[in-house]
């Protein structure tokens, strides 16, 4: 210590005046630019708030949602969409792909809580829910957008939010209904019982309908008030609110701008007047549905269940027009052929909501309301369009079966209708049980992805059976 002091003392005695400028100069350059660490905003990204200053960028935010739904998420026509997965899970499709792939676990009913496809459905769908909530919040807070624009965007976002939750509800049963972008809230959410989710769906759809009324969309490639109505009718039906379901479906059936038509041809072309909402394929490309389902030799991935094909009446035009077949040796394989264009851009769009379903919704609602003739009338409207005679069913029970059959033939391989129908009418065990060796009563719900339970224990308990 003594030594150090001594040295310091010595230093103090020394002077080297000519060092000042150098040192000072250096120190100044060192300190002069403290703001050096300021960076510009990333050029390739847009600040969140900037998106909502301008209608064009809000449209782009929606384009993200629609392109994801079309190409990757939930109801995509790709191999990971509900068309395929629920078709395999129910009795519509048979699996011919590489053994051990995820799609096969749906076919075999060997889904585990760790299933990556189930996890993707969950995560990717909630990611789109975030995107819609982000639009809702951004639009509400925007000072730049006009009232007209705001209304249209709000309605559209609410509709999509409901559409996404509707499907999650069918797949997972009790689910969290996400209405904010705040991750602090969303990371601890609890699941709501199914009967509490339905009212929220209805409320979102009613609000969407209000905002969207008067907004036109010529090609139906973006949801309109009609789309909100169509999903509303379906929601009421699933909720067993038959009066409301019938009323809303009637609204659409009586809507002059929609028309079921008298033929099952061209139903999936872009301009068909029975279409309520459809997704436009990427420019220059066909629909994913056509790419996924159609095969030319032996099936490489999935083929239609021959039982389903056999269940069509011989003269059913849907059997002829919507189902394709390939004969290899003695075997004949069938594929869904609702979408026919495989190369280049065709005139087909991926239809998500169409008027035929509304007739079937109203028929079911009427049936449960006791209006048997009304129900028959609606069923027959669908049948006559397919070139079939009126149904011979007369009793409530036989009409229920006739209706189930009609839905099966009209809506096969479309976003999982068949599976949802079997589930909500509690017919799954009866119909699927015998054909799937792994069937368990608990298969009516998918597992909450294992990882999600780890990350948010509030999602417990796991669905039974997993």
């Amino acid at each position: 210590m003594k030594n150090i002091l001594k040295i310091l003392k010595k230093f103090r005695a020394m002077r080297a005046l000519n060092m000042y400028p150098i040192l000072l100069g250096t120190c100044l350059t060192i300190t002069a630019c403290d703001s050096f660490t300021e960076v510009d905003f990333p050029q390739s990204e847009l600040m969140g708030t900037a998106v909502f200053n301008d209608a064009a960028s809000v449209h782009a935010a929606f384009a993200n949602i629609y392109s994801k739904l079309r190409d990757n998420v939930l109801i995509t026509g790709q191999t990971n969409g509900l068309n395929v997965l629920l078709g395999l899970y129910a009795d519509e499709l048979d699996y011919y792909g590489v053994p051990g792939e995820d799609a096969e676990t749906f076919y075999r009913h060997s889904i585990l809580a760790s299933n990556t496809e189930v996890a993707s459905i969950w995560n990717d769908t909630y990611n789109l829910v975030y995107a819609t909530n982000s639009i809702l919040e951004g639009v509400q807070n925007s000072k730049e957008l006009s009232e007209m624009e705001k209304n249209a965007f709000m309605g559209e976002a609410l509709f999509i939010r409901a559409y996404l939750h509707f499907h999650l509800l069918q797949l997972f049963g009790p689910i969290p209904y996400i209405t904010t972008t705040d991750y602090r809230i969303n990371k601890d959410v609890k699941r709501l019982p199914e009967n509490e989710v339905y009212p929220i769906l209805v409320q979102d759809l009613l609000e969407a309908k209000t905002w969207l009324t008067g907004q036109e969309n010529y090609e139906h490639t973006r949801p309109t008030a009609q789309a909100a109505n169509a999903l509303l009718a379906r929601t009421y039906l699933y909720q067993q609110n038959y009066t409301a379901a019938s009323a809303v479906a009637s609204e659409l059936i009586n809507d002059g701008s929609l028309n079921l038509g008298d033929t099952t041809e061209m139903v999936f072309t872009a301009t068909n007047p029975s279409t309520i909402w459809q997704l436009k394929p990427e420019a220059g490309n066909p629909t994913w549905e056509a790419l996924t389902f159609i095969f030319e030799e032996t099936p490489a991935f999935v083929a239609l269940n021959p039982e389903l094909v056999a269940s069509f009446e011989a003269e059913d035009s849907r059997r002829l027009q919507w189902i394709g077949e390939v004969a290899v040796g003695n075997e004949t394989y069938f594929y869904p052929n609702k979408y026919k264009t495989r190369e280049g851009s065709g005139d087909e769009y991926s239809v998500l909501l169409r008027l035929a379903e509304q007739f079937l919704i109203r028929a079911e609602a009427r049936l449960y309301l006791g209006d048997l003739s009304g129900a028959k009338e609606d069923i027959n409207r669908i049948r006559s369009r397919a070139g079939l005679d009126p149904t011979v069913a007369n009793t409530v029970e036989s009409l229920k079966l006739a209706l189930e059959n009609e839905r099966r033939h009209e809506l096969f391989t479309e976003q999982g209708h068949r599976w949802f129908d079997l589930r909500r009418t509690q017919r799954a065990a009866e119909v699927i049980g015998p054909i799937k060796p792994n069937w368990k009563a608990t298969d009516v719900l998918f597992p909450i992805p294992e990882m999600e339970l780890n990350l948010n224990p509030n999602l417990e308990p796991q669905n039974p059976g997993y």
Binding site: M19, Y20, D34, P42, K68, Y130, E452, P457
Partner: protein, 1017 residues
């Protein structure tokens, strides 16, 4: 901002004042004589010797010819000091008469001016005293206060490796390096003293010739992850190991705090080779060799496999095999057998390496220029390879007055890697042994009528990478006064990457009828550019009994990263696949330009007293653009001290066998900012996908301004001992590092819409451990030499605190008091003798097995201890080097990711003890072909149970080389060495699932054998 500005201005100013106020001046109040002369080592002049007038601040330094000149009065004593030589003192008065001093000297009779020549005597104990690069400063091994490990060219050159990181494996205590794939250019996991951060980067900071080198891969995982784990192609493989002179690893706070926010995970300093004074030397070296997969798993052969399958179907109650059970239902030949590992990864890879160097220097200027070429093929069935061409240039110049110094180096490398679109290793683990032949009779890929996913079809797709890398560094320094040097370190680095993975339609079974309109390609083009300027002032003062070194400096760095990644599908012809313009659809996967700016002020004060006590203070103030306003700046610093107790009289006199004894300790704070750019902003970015002619915009991040630096407090203590003048050298070290304010990509549940968010977690992670290294020169005779180096590390990683862990997203991953490397698993209690299905411990006793509640079995996969034993034995011109590397740890075995036994996927041949009949006590559950749901579920749990963890300890003959130097006819004539080198030659382990270091199903480390020669003229 303003406050920060003021504060740092104040800091710098006080530094300046401190320096100037305490600056030496020259007292001139006594009659002076000028003493001058030449200082030599006996033969050669010594430049840079400190000549000091004792008890004053006057002094001088000898020039390149060894000349010095100093003025002193007759009462003064001159002190001559030089690293590696004994300090000598002589009183000026004695110079005028006595001749009894041991110095060689001469006197001139002129007016009091004295000519006095000095021969410095080598200090034997410091003979090998190595000067160690500590980054901003150099320090002798003897005087270092920090913990720094080092390897040199001598060790690197004995290894036929293409990545410098590979050359470090097993050679340094506290440094654990694991290769992630056996492919050249693949990544390495480097951990210096353990994992500090839960979720931010744990990679050390790399500095090449003074320039920070971004070790983050530029690869885009979508493009490369099927071939190279994580798409992580190592940027370090762009540096030719043969251009490296030394690699220093800075481990403790004392050594790393001067790197501030980037020092938390340690610093790896790479110094490239420089020219030496002397005649121009030419050197040519080349080697060539072979490599093969060293360690495979034994899978079932056809008989055993089919027996398993048949039993499985019988268990599942099938009388007739289903249509898609091709292996057992007769579709595939039941008598075929293919060893898929041999078929798909059993090939031989060839290595070629050549290096030519010319170097020289003439006292003032030195240069070195070298060029290298490295080629390595793969073990896959088709022709794939890795090529690298590298150039290294180096120039340094010192002005004749020794005041100005210039140093320049450049490293340039071009690399081409041509690989399959998928690493086939994973496939070899599942293919049925009786799967059909790969080619049909016409030589086309055989898909066996659509029943066989031909693995070779994967080779139709290619993963190509092209990289270019330039690292330049210039350092200018000027010694204003003998004590004061101004210098600036400048660097410019640019790296370009072009990678693509193709997926042509020929990959698919032709019966799918897919035309080239289904062919697709992923591409990624990335460019990284950075520059650095670091003005510095160095000041040192040697006093009578003490020495002071001061360094202050600033650092400015800017880095830009530009990435453009495409996906294209549909080509008129596959030969157009690399022409994106020819694609039917083209989408942009990523287009990002990011900027990273970094600013720091740093300083060091080192004070040595009486050659015994050393104190070293380092500090740094850092600012990084990766953080939001208000969180942008932080201070880091460390204090280190050392006591050379062997210099104390009581040791010197009584225990002279102890040539060096040093106790050292340090404590300090470093930081970690490895979190990526712009993480605090809420942003939308383009998806590149169109909907209805509108290009999508997606939310990419949640707004989050509140995260800041991760801090890492490090304590380290060490004992350095050297016995019998370098014969036995021992180092013990203890460290205890605590990382807090953990910066975490906090995983979020899916309901938030995002997988994670950046946040500072109040968690504390502790890494503590013991390190030990021993170097001996066991035999040192004229003909025989035997050196041994042993290093051993015993690390311990522990999560000390984690507030609210049970409610956090990490609840099911970590446990307070346990290591970060734990896995929470099911605990398998055996196979139920009744049902034949695995049973698991029901931790919460609810009668059901579910995750996460019942995944409570804790397995720790961190290494318990690891190290290496290196031997160098030479006899005359023959030299043998070999390194055994060992690790004690548990690791995942084949069970993780395995198929349920009985399914259409092969199993290791030791899966034999399966349940068959009621009452069986067995190890493996009953076979199922995939129809027994309970068994499937049980297997899915089994994969994540304690059964998936086994002892993965090993001893590996990592490296061996035998070199013979042809006798030289005369001094300076052609020198020729021939050598045999091998990597990964032997493995001793109980582990039964392939290579214990490759647990992820990618290509394991290769066994290499090469032969080569080196000519030097």
């Amino acid at each position: 901002m303003k406050n920060n500005y003021r504060r740092s201005y104040a800091y710098a100013l006080s530094f300046a004042l401190f320096l100037t106020y305490n600056s030496p001046t020259f007292s001139q109040n006594q009659p002076q004589k000028t003493i001058s002369g030449i200082i030599t080592s006996g033969a050669d002049p010594l430049s840079g010797v400190n000549v000091l007038v004792k008890n004053s601040a006057r002094g001088s330094i000898s020039d390149l010819e060894g000349r010095y000149s100093v003025s002193a009065s007759a009462n003064d004593t001159l002190v001559f000091t030089y690293v590696g030589y004994k300090t000598q003192e002589v009183s000026v008065g004695s110079l005028s008469g006595s001749r009894s001093l041991s110095f060689s000297r001469s006197r001139s009779g002129s007016d009091g001016d004295i000519v006095f020549n000095v021969v410095m005597e080598v200090d034997a104990q410091a003979l090998d005293a190595v000067v160690i690069n500590a980054g901003y400063y150099k320090v002798s091994d003897r005087e270092k206060t920090g913990s720094i490990a080092r390897i040199t060219a001598a060790e690197i050159e004995n290894q036929p490796v293409s990545n410098p990181l590979a050359a470090m494996q097993g050679r340094m205590a506290g440094v654990n390096i694991v290769q992630t794939t056996g492919l050249a250019s693949g990544g390495y996991e480097v951990r210096i003293r353990g994992q500090n951060s839960i979720a931010a980067g744990n990679d050390p900071l790399y500095i090449i010739d003074g320039i920070p080198y971004d070790s983050q891969t530029m690869g885009f995982s979508t493009v490369g992850a099927t071939t190279i784990p994580g798409g992580n192609i190592s940027p370090l493989s762009l540096l030719n190991p043969q251009d490296i002179a030394s690699i220093e690893v800075l481990k403790d706070a004392d050594a790393t705090a001067i790197y501030g926010s980037r020092g938390a995970n340690g610093v790896i300093l790479i110094t490239t080779k420089k020219g030496k004074d002397g005649k121009t030397a030419f050197s040519l070296s080349t080697y060539t060799g072979m490599a093969q997969v060293a360690n495979t798993i034994n899978y079932m052969k056809t008989d055993q496999y089919l027996k398993m399958r048949r039993e499985a179907f019988a268990n599942d109650g099938f009388n007739e095999y289903p249509e898609d059970a091709y292996d057992v239902n007769g579709t595939w030949d039941p008598n075929r057998y293919t060893d898929w590992q041999k078929e798909l990864i059993g090939g031989t890879a060839y290595l070629t390496n050549a290096q030519a160097t010319v170097s020289g220097g003439n006292g003032n200027t030195r240069f070195l220029l070298s060029g290298g070429y490295h080629k390595e093929t793969t073990v896959f069935p088709k022709d794939f390879n890795y090529k690298r061409l590298s150039v290294h240039a180096n120039l340094d110049h010192t002005s004749t007055d020794d005041k100005f110094q210039l140093y320049f180096s450049a490293n340039y490398a071009v690399e081409q890697n041509d690989l399959p679109g998928l690493d086939l290793t994973q496939l070899t683990r599942f293919l049925a042994p009786n799967a059909p032949q790969l080619y049909d009779s016409e030589g086309n890929l055989n898909f066996e009528n659509g029943t066989f996913a031909n693995p070779l079809a994967e080779l139709e797709g290619k993963y190509l990478t092209d990289r270019k890398n330039l690292i330049t560094n210039a350092r200018l320094s000027y010694r204003v006064f003998p004590e004061l040097t101004l210098l600036t370190n400048m660097g410019y680095t640019t790296t370009g990457l072009d990678e693509s993975r193709t997926s042509p339609n020929t990959k698919y079974d032709p019966s799918y009828g897919l035309s080239s309109s289904y062919s697709s390609i992923y591409t990624n083009r990335a460019q990284k550019e950075s520059w650095l300027v670091e003005p510095q002032i160095k000041w040192n003062k040697t006093l009578e009994k003490s020495k002071l070194d001061v360094l202050v400096g600033a650092s400015y760095k800017k880095q830009t990263d530009d990435v453009l990644s495409h996906f294209a599908r549909g080509f008129a012809n596959n030969s157009l696949i690399y022409n994106l313009a020819a694609a039917n659809t083209l989408s942009v996967n990523r287009d990002a330009l990011t900027e990273y700016k970094y600013q720091a002020f740093f300083g060091r004060i080192n004070y040595t007293l009486a050659n015994k006590y050393i104190i070293n203070l380092t500090g740094r103030r850092d600012g990084s653009s990766r953080f939001g306003d208000g969180k942008r700046f932080a201070n880091f610093g460390a204090v280190g001290a050392a006591w050379l107790f062997s210099e104390e009289a009581f040791i010197k006199n009584k225990a002279s066998f102890l040539s060096l004894g040093k106790l050292r300790a340090s404590y300090g704070i470093t930081g970690n900012d490895q979190i990526g750019n712009y993480q605090y902003l809420e942003t939308y970015s383009s998806t590149g996908t169109l909907y209805d002619d509108v290009s999508g915009l997606q939310p990419t991040r949640i707004f989050n301004p509140d995260f800041g630096w991760e801090t890492n407090k490090k304590f380290s203590g060490g004992l350095d001992l050297d016995f019998f003048r370098d014969r036995i050298n021992l180092v013990f070290e203890y460290y205890n590092n605590r990382s807090s304010n953990q910066l975490v990509g906090l995983p979020l549940p899916g309901t938030t819409g995002f997988p994670s968010i950046q946040a500072n977690l109040g968690a504390v992670v502790e890494n503590s451990g013991l390190e030990f290294s021993l170097n001996t020169h066991t035999v040192k005779t004229k003909d025989w030499n035997w050196d041994t180096g042993i290093n051993l590390s015993v690390p311990k990683n522990k999560l000390i605190a984690f507030p609210n862990l049970e409610n956090s997203t990490y609840a099911n991953q970590y446990v307070v008091g346990q290591s970060l490397n734990i896995k929470k698993l099911y605990h398998v209690t055996g196979v139920d003798p009744e049902t034949g299905v695995y049973q698991f411990e029901d931790y919460n006793g609810d009668g059901e097995i579910s995750a996460p509640e019942d995944r409570q079995y804790i397995a720790d996969t961190a290494p318990k201890w690891y190290g290496g034993i290196n031997n160098r034995i030479s006899y005359k011109n023959l030299e043998l080097n070999f390194l055994f590397q060992f690790t004690k740890r548990d690791g995942y075995n084949y069970v993780l990711g395995s198929a349920s036994p009985g399914e259409m996927a092969n199993q290791p041949d030791f899966v034999t003890d399966q349940w068959q009949n009621e009452g069986d006590q067995s190890e493996t559950q009953l076979f199922t072909a995939g129809y027994n749901f309970d068994a499937l579920i049980a297997h899915s749990r089994y994969m994540f149970s304690n059964a998936s963890i086994t002892d993965a300890s090993f001893v590996r003959l990592r490296n061996a080389s035998l070199t013979y130097s042809l006798p030289q006819r005369r001094e300076g004539s052609l020198n020729c060495k021939i050598y045999l080198q091998g990597e990964n030659l032997l493995l001793f382990t109980k582990f039964n699932s392939g290579d214990p270091e490759q647990l992820t199903g990618f290509l394991p480390p290769m066994r290499k054998l090469t032969m080569g020669f080196q000519l030097t003229l």
